[in-house]
Amino acid sequence: MIISFKLNNEAVTITTDPMRRLLDVLREDMKMKSVKESCGEGECGACTVMLGNKPVTSCLVNIAQVEGKEVLTAEAISETPIGKLLIDCFEETNAVQCGFCFTGFLVSCWHYLTTNPVDDVDAIKHAISGNICRCTGYVKIIEAMQLACRRINEGAIS
């Protein structure tokens, strides 16, 4: 099946089995290595990417479902103004540990910051509740997110 979609702001067309997981197409065909496989059943969020305007676990999406849509991975998100600000906050708080889950967190957190960056611990916890991290206990991720919210609300992004 021929499938066309936008990947990190560039049009792509591929011929592949429509039932292949978006995760596999991104990692194997598109070499988007930021997308990580950890649980393979949508529990952990390590393979989170933006599909249209929603974060999704790419292990649960078939490539056929991506036809005509836009996909953003951490490779592109890390280049955006809010992505850069978020990375700086993660670095400043030393929130990253093993880092395997963090490209997934980057996508979920970026979605929160680009839609409604409220400095509220509960709201942030909800926004990252689909991402599992085994190293950090989430405390510093939340700390980094609060810092990012404050900076955005103080006008750090014009």
Binding site: M32, K33, S34, V35, K36, E37, S38, C39, G40, E41, E43, C44, A46, T73, A74, E75, S78, I87, F90, E91, E92, T93, N94, A95, V96, Q97, C98, G99, F100, C101, F102, T103, L106, I124, K125, H126, I128, S129, N131, I132, C133, R134, C135, T136, G137, Y138, V139, K140, I141, I142
Partner: protein
């Protein structure tokens, strides 16, 4: 002061850091493991599916092993692959490789093994309650202080505590890449692991003289380990190497999450029976008998070392005049258990800290007061007769009591609970963890480190200790740079590789900063002394022709640290890290559910090198311990077993309490062990909070609604 930023964060956030599955040399074959699916018995026949060209597959079984079919461990009893005897579920029978992942998966799913089953013991309690399942030697630890006891007023109380398996749940599954260079007969292993030199020995074992040389390098990123990548990588690397040797092509095995959950090592389940005598007037515990047992699983592997640490932590932070501890390994037909953060200590501390609260309840005094009366103080002795040099346990206790307002809340919550259906609880626990290998272990490891000073002004650190998320590689550079004082970006740890890196020992036992970091700092001091510089950068600029230079240092144990492995008397650990914790919960009686509200932690880890990295370790370890306390459980009894993370309740962001972490005595010269202690103490604090809130005594983890419900229905409050 702001902490130095981690060196690895940017690459990890942007996806540039390569984890094992991101390595794909040309022509790499995908590998899979076929493992046993019964608990005990014999393999009678293996049937390969029809409809495939069998010649396209590389298949290895135990009969292909040119070297020894034994995974090197403290006890050499586990084979890489089994022939026809099945000791437990998840024993590897075959390694299979193929260029196409989908074809391989399809093939593997149709491989059929015919078995003849035998009776098996898979239930943890059945295994631990029966002495007939003991294997290996019983360990003993006895101590009697010269103080005379007043036995006129005493209470004798016995209680048995159980803990369950725990899955490390590192987010990056186990994975290994093997590349065989036929020209030079060298096997190169790249993998996600904690101990590159262990893996090297394992591959040398399985391949024997079939290859000339084995080189092991870790992947750039190691996606979490927590002990889970201490010994299983030995087995995985061995089989991956065997496949690559046979196929004459690179082979990569990355475990599916399901396989990772089912066949890799977990935390040992435990049964700890405590029987103590307490003076009802002085509230001092005068005698304690502890029977500490852990379920090793199918093979002993490294379990005796876990058992050893367990018995040496069994009396926790308490000073007890007469101590009798017995430690035993038990055998069950389940996958061998292995290393997991804490390594026998969390099980021991769960028991003793829970016991203390039950005792306080029996005596009708505050759990804080009972602790104050019994903690080890300066001049006291551990059961190994090791002298307590400082009063830091009390300092942790006093500080936690103050910042959590423990005594006030104990009163307030007791009053609140009289008038409200929803209950509030507060629980306290103390913990300790001995840094580095037990007893003579560090002496035997004989760790070596290397630093090179390049003519570019770069300083490269060569150690075998890996960066698996704990922040070690950033923190180690800070320790070296505290002496050399170069710009931070000039000092780096090189990715461990057994052909370039000296053996500074495994990345385990909270030893990386404590032992290896201290050794590096000593070496940095020597470099400074030998070169006689004040400003290294300037010195290099002026003497460029004399560089690069290489410096090495070997660990020297404190000559006063004698330990007798037979009697377990002497200095068990040169330094103990200490901690105190208070957990506040609410309890919903209609749902039988605990909600974790707040968690305070006070730790004495000595000198703190990087405050925010150290805090990250505490937060992460505490949440891992809270998961073990309230939700994480692997049902190994019968079928179906775990099929993925869906069946294993890991803490998510919404499950965590509000957390406070304080470090005390940070002016110390020594940076003590940190990695494991946060795992050791939170679970009993939760259990004690539930006891305080409801009177429900559950002595078995995890404290799930199902277990609380069962206890309430039994009327055993």
């Amino acid at each position: 002061m702001k902490s130095q930023r981690r060196k690895d964060a940017f690459a990890k956030l942007t996806g540039k850091c390569r984890f094992l599955d991101d390595y794909s040399p040309p022509e790499t074959l995908h590998g899979y493991l076929v493992y046993t699916t019964i608990d005990r018995g014999w393999i009678r026949k293996i049937n390969f599916p029809a409809g495939f060209d069998i010649n396209e597959f590389t298949i290895v079984s135990e009969s292909d092993i040119p070297g020894k079919n034994i995974v090197p461990e403290p006890v050499n009893d586990q084979p890489f692959m089994t022939g026809d005897i099945v000791e437990h579920f998840g024993q590897v029978v075959l390694g299979i490789a193929h260029p196409d992942k989908e074809i391989l998966k399809n093939f593997i799913s149709q491989v059929n093994i015919e078995y003849e089953k035998r009776d098996a013991v898979t239930d943890t309690k059945e295994c631990l309650d029966n002495e007939k399942y003991q294997f290996g030697e019983t360990m003993h630890l006895k101590h009697k202080s010269p103080n005379t006891m007043n036995f006129r007023h005493f209470l004798k109380w016995q209680q048995i505590f159980y803990t369950q398996h725990q899955e490390q749940a590192y987010l990056e599954p186990q994975g290994m890449l093997a590349e065989y260079d036929r020209e030079i007969e060298e096997m190169k292993i790249t993998g996600t692991m904690q101990c590159p030199f262990f893996v090297k020995t394992a591959v040398e074992n399985i391949l024997g003289t079939a290859v000339k040389n084995v080189v092991v390098e870790t992947s750039e990123g190691i996606g979490g380990a927590f002990g889970g990548k201490e010994d299983f990588p030995n087995l995985l690397a061995g089989i991956t190497a065997l496949l690559a040797w046979k196929a004459k092509k690179p082979v990569k095995i990355v475990l599916d999450r399901k396989d990772d959950l089912l066949i890799t090592t977990n935390r040992h389940p435990s049964r700890v029976d405590i029987n103590a005598i307490v003076n009802t007037k002085t509230h001092q515990i005068s005698k304690i008998d502890i029977d500490y047992r852990i379920d090793a699983g199918g093979f002993q592997t490294l379990s005796p070392v876990v058992l050893h640490r367990g018995i040496l932590h069994a009396t926790g932070v308490y000073n007890i005049a007469e101590v009798v501890i017995k430690g035993a390994l038990h055998h069950s037909n389940t996958p061998s258990n292995g290393a997991f953060r804490g390594f026998g200590a969390p099980q021991a501390i769960f028991a003793i800290e829970s016991y203390i609260d039950t005792l306080a309840q029996k005596l009708g005094i505050s759990p804080l007061k009972l602790r104050e009366n019994n903690i080890l103080r300066k001049g006291d002795q551990f059961p190994s007769s090791q002298l307590v040099k400082e009063d830091h346990i009390n300092d942790c206790l006093q500080r936690i009591a103050k910042i959590s307002e423990y005594e006030q809340k104990l009163k307030d919550f007791t009053e609140y609970n009289k008038h409200n259906r929803t209950k509030k609880g507060i629980g306290i626990a103390l913990g300790l963890h001995g840094g580095g290998y037990t007893g003579n272990g560090e002496k035997q490891l004989n760790s070596k480190v290397k630093i090179t000073v390049e003519n570019t002004g770069d300083v490269n650190i060569y150690v075998a200790n890996v960066e698996m998320g704990q922040g070690a590689h950033t923190t180690l550079t800070q320790m070296v740079n505290s002496v050399l004082k170069l710009p931070a970006e000039k000092v780096n740890v090189i990715v461990p590789n057994t052909s370039k890196t000296p053996n500074s020992g495994p990345t385990v036992a909270s030893r990386t900063i404590y032992i290896v970091g201290a050794l590096l700092q000593k070496l940095a001091e020597r470099i400074k002394f030998e070169l006689g510089f004040i400003d290294l950068q300037k010195y290099i600029e002026e003497n460029r022709e004399s560089f690069p230079m290489t410096f090495e240092e070997t660990f020297m144990p404190d000559p006063a640290d004698a330990f007798d492995d037979k009697t377990n008397q002497g200095v068990a650990y040169h330094d103990f890290s200490l901690a105190a914790c208070v957990v506040e919960i609410s309890y919903e009686p209609d749902l039988y559910q605990i909600k974790l509200e707040k968690c305070w932690n006070v730790l004495d880890i000595g000198k703190v090198i990087n405050d925010s990295i150290a805090r990250g370790q505490v937060y992460g370890g505490v949440v891992q311990a809270l998961g073990w306390a309230v939700s994480e459980d692997i049902y190994k009894k019968g079928y179906p077993r775990l099929s993925g993370f869906t069946d294993y309740t890991l803490p998510a962001a919404l499950d965590i309490p509000e957390m406070t972490v304080e470090f005390i005595h940070t002016d110390s010269k020594v940076a003590k062990g940190l990695g494991e202690i946060p795992m050791n103490y939170p679970a009993p604090a939760v259990r004690n909070a539930l006891l305080m809130a409801t009177g429900i005594t559950i002595d078995e983890l995890p404290l799930t609604p199902e277990k609380i419900y069962a206890q309430v229905k039994r009327g055993k409050l």
